[in-house]
Structure formats: C-alpha cells, structure tokens
C-alpha cells in the first residue's frame, strides 16, 4: 500500500472524528454479514462505499444509526457509543440524517409536513419556525412549489429531493445515503446527485452507498470497496479508479465501468 493511505490523511487534518467503527461484526442468524469492519470518518469527509449486492455495504451504514444492530465491536458516532441504550440511539439518530433507496416519505403527510415533522416533535421547535426551515430546505432542493402536495403526486427524483430536505431540516452533522439513486429513472438521477454535490461542497460529512462512479470520482475523499462483508480496499478516488490494488476490485470496476 502506498504511504498516503486515507488513515494518514485523517491524522494530518486535525478535524474531529465523527464516526468510528472498531472491529464491528454482525450476523443475520448464522450468516456473517459484517466481518471486522474498521472505519474512521472525520468531520467534512465524503466517503463512497461501493461493492456488489450482498456485500454488506448497506448494512454497514445502517449500523451507524442503529437501523441494524451490530453484535460485536464498537461504533462511536459524534462521541456517543451505540449500545442498547435507547437514549443514546435516539441522540445519535437526531444528529444523523438518512436517505433511503425508496425515499420512504410519509405518504399521508404533505411535503411540507414531512419536512417539518421531526423538527417539531423531536427538536420541539414551534410549528411556524419548523415550517420556515422546511421551506428553506425545499428551496435548496429546488421544489418549494411542491410543498402543499403529497409525496404520491411527485416524481421519483422530486421525492428523493424531498427526502434529502427532510433529513436536512434536522440540521444533521452526518448524512447517510443508502443507494439514493438506484430506484430512479435515468433522467432523474442528475437532479438528486446535484443536490448531493451541493451538500458536499458545503462540507457535510457524508457516507454514500452508491454505484454512481462519476459522483465518487468528483466528490469523494475516499472510496471504500466492500465484498463478502469485508472492506477489501480503501483509497482516494484517483488511485482507486486508476490503480486498484486488489484483483476483486479490478474485476468489480471492470464490470460496472465497461458495460
């Protein structure tokens, strides 16, 4: 491995550590999904995780806000360790936004209500203030005019942008993206990626599970390749794409880049 591994980059910049995964293991019944995962993410870092389906990449980021429970190892998010303690879990979830592959907007609430809900009920913000903030973020993702509509009336790309706005309304310190563009029509992928690039430029700490290699090349500080529940390779995007170290990575890249 060359000397400028990501970890050395981390120690050079003196940004605080936001996420630390230390020897994390997870099993679904007998099936060992995550095998000794070690990952440190500092503030403002943008990390893209890729890998074949079933490699555990989604499970890995879902462990960070405890949508999945890990059985061994330590996960510390923003200085709080994830244990069975519900207080800790809710504290972390307040600071970690998540965007899902299938948007998961609340279909019975309008776009505005979707966005204002968590600030009102979790942050105890007055309704009017929460709605003002929601409108600000809806403007940021360029759909303020849809505020009074229901999610079912929007296109996939619009729904995903609402989902991003909904997360941002909680002013999260970390954003997790779980294949945010995989369920979208090709025409709509760009509008979502544009929002994500904008977020990255503002210095948001981001972890993205995605197959958008263009996004990885332009935005990521680090690309992580996972297979079989392990981190196979971890590098800056330039070296990752031009000079992949492991054979498995080379094979994966050749399959997704040359079709």
């Amino acid at each position: 491995m060359p000397n400028d591994t990501p970890l050395s980059v981390v120690t050079e910049t003196k940004e605080p550590v936001m996420i630390e995964m230390d020897g994390v293991h997870k099993w679904y019944g007998q099936f060992h999904v995550l095998k000794d995962l070690n990952l440190t993410v500092t503030k403002g870092e943008r990390i893209v995780i890729c890998g074949p389906s079933g490699s555990g990449k989604s499970t890995a980021i879902r462990c960070i806000n405890r949508l999945e429970e890990h059985q061994q190892g330590r996960i510390v998010v923003d200085g709080v360790e994830l244990t069975g303690d519900v207080k800790h879990i809710e504290q972390i979830r307040r600071e970690v936004g998540m965007v899902f592959q299938h948007f998961n907007l609340f279909p019975h609430l309008t776009v505005l209500e979707n966005c204002a809900l968590a600030p009102i009920w979790v942050r105890k913000m007055p309704r009017r203030e929460a709605e003002d903030i929601a409108m600000q973020y809806l403007e940021r993702v360029k759909i303020p005019e849809q505020a009074k509509k229901y999610p079912g009336q929007l296109s996939g790309g619009q729904q995903q942008r609402v989902a991003i706005a909904r997360s941002l309304c909680m002013s999260p310190k970390i954003m997790l993206f779980d294949e945010p563009t995989s369920a979208l029509d090709p025409e709509m992928i760009k509008e979502v990626l544009d929002v994500m690039v904008g977020l990255a430029e503002e210095g948001m700490t981001m972890l993205c599970v995605t197959h958008e290699m263009g996004f990885a090349k332009t935005v990521a500080n680090r690309v992580i390749f996972m297979d079989g529940g392990e981190i196979i390779e971890e590098n800056n995007p330039h070296d990752f794409f031009t000079n992949p170290q492991s054979e498995r990575t080379q094979l994966f890249l050749s399959q997704i880049l040359h079709h």
Partner: protein
Amino acid sequence: MMTHTPHPDLPPPITSVGAVGWLRRNLFSSPLNTALTVLAAYLLYLLLPPIISWAFLNADWVGDDREACNSGGACWVFIRSRFDQFMYGFYPEAQRWRVNIVLGGLAIGMVLLMIRMFPYKNWLGAFMLLGYPILALTLLAGGVFGLETVETSQWGGLTLTLIIAIVGCVASLPLGILLALGRRSEMPIVRAICVVFIEFWRGVPLITVLFMSSVMLPLFLPEGVNFDKLLRALIGVTLFEAAYMAEVIRGGLQAIPKGQYEAAAGLGLGYWRSMGLIILPQALKLVIPGIVNTFIALFKDTTLVIIIGLLDLLNTVHNATTDPNWLGYSIEGYVFAAAVFWIFCFSMSRYSQNLEQRLHTGHRR
C-alpha cells in the same frame, strides 16, 4: 432534421361515453351479460310490485288498534302505537326528554365533526370523547341535581342499542390499537399477554361472554358487591370487540412498509411518536373497511343482550309482537326493526367510504 407535429387529442367515440356508453359497457357488453340483464329485470318485475303494494299502497297507517288494519297490506298502525316503546324501552315517559337531549346532542356533535370546515373540531372532538359520555351518563341515570333516578334495567329499545353500540365502538378502538401494538411488540411478556388476551376473547362466543358476565361473575364477587348488569354487558362487549379490533388493526400495521418504520426511527422519533404520527395514521386508514365492518357487526350483535335480560330494539319489538292485542303482526315488527338496523349500518358504511376517499392522498403502491 425532422420536426415532430404532435398528434391532436380527439374526442372518444360517441358509443363509449354518456348513458349509451354506460349501458353498453355495464348491461349489454356480451350475450351472457344481456341475458342476465333481462333475467334480472324480469325478477324485479315479479318481486317489486307485490312488495310495494304490501308495504305502501295497501298498508294501513292510521288508527289506534288492530281494527284499523283491514286492507290486507302491512299494518304500520302497530309500529306507530308502540313507537315510543321501541325507541325508549321502559324509560319513564316523563323523563324521556333526557334521552332526547343525550341522543340529540350526540347527533349534533357527530354532524359538526363531519363538517370539514367546522373550526373548533379538535375541541369538540375532545369534548365528545371525554366530557360528553359523563354528561350523557349523568343525564340518563339521574340521581343527582334533582334528576329522578332511572335504573338501567328501565333503559331499552333503540336507546339501549345505541348506548351499547357506541360505548362498544368508542372503547374497543383504543383498546384494540394497544393490543395490536402489543402483539407486535418486541417485549416478550407484553406480546404474550396480548396474544393470550386476543385469542381468549376471540375464541369464545359473545353469548357466552354476556352469560358469564351476568351469571358467573356474581359468584366470584364477594357478597353485597353488585355490578350494574348493563355495565357488565358493556365491559363484556368492549373486551370482546377489542380482540377483533386488534386483529383488524394488526393487519393494517403489517401492511405498512418497513421503510416507514425506518424513516421514522431515522429521524429520531421514539416508539410512541413513530406509531402515533407515522404508522397508525396510515395503518388505520388502510383498515377503515375492516374497522367499520367490526363496528357494524358489533351494532347488530347488541341484540344478543337479550340473553341477560336487557331489552334492546329487536327484543322490545319481539316482546311487542307477543302482545295479545297485536298478535299476527310480527312481520311488520321485524321489518321495522330490520329497517332501523339497516339505516344505521348503511350510514356507517357510507360514512366510511366517504372517509376513505377524503383521506386518500394519491399514494398508490
């Protein structure tokens, strides 16, 4: 480069829209359908005229006793002469204004709640759920503020039917929600309690429940402790219906995609807020048909209280048909009872359909 001229929108063919289109599509779309249409029309021709002539054209409407019924049609005089009893049971005549106020207030409250534009909906809703039952009970039972006491054994007729049905519905819904949530809980003890409760109450017939509540329960209670019979029936009906309600609601909870739970959790909403704000509003909306189905079944099951000697609408009618002065007019009595039940059940059904439409937010998946 070719320029594309969009194809203009054309009107549909005349035979596929309007009344003609509707007839073609629905009644005469195929030879079999045409034959069925003709057959149905013939059956209606056979059945309807005699029914109409019995119930309306040849019926007797005015009079004081059975002498007035001599035209061969239905004898609605019987219903008219017993109407008050069918409505109030044996509630003292001089006190019936109390029942009128209670039921009138209920009707006004419900109509106001159904008006979408009504501004104080939340306050009224809270009053109807919390304040109104106490007021209604006080007014009906009396014994305070100089109101004459009316024993629950004197309550009867449609009044009693409505009391049991409404209390059963209003009390069993929240209990059912809690049981449904409990049955899906991750806490084994809570889950076990809910499963046992639901399976027990679902496994016994309502008649048994009512019978046990009036015959068995006093055996287990210490001497002198005496529950009101109506109260015992209400509790029995509520617990029984709650078990059914729980399973209906559980069906709705299971239909909510996992992503909704995850999105709610991911935003930092705790269990009760996730349920109350995200999951239950969607789940309950999904199972409105099932909930109303249970309500309608409950409404009709109230007639079973005859087993413990309470006289609801049907049983009051039944008693009246055994009156020697009116022997032979039981058909009129039962038709009347059926019509009243039908009106209430059909209204519930229509209201639920209206509610479904109103709550629909264009989400089809």
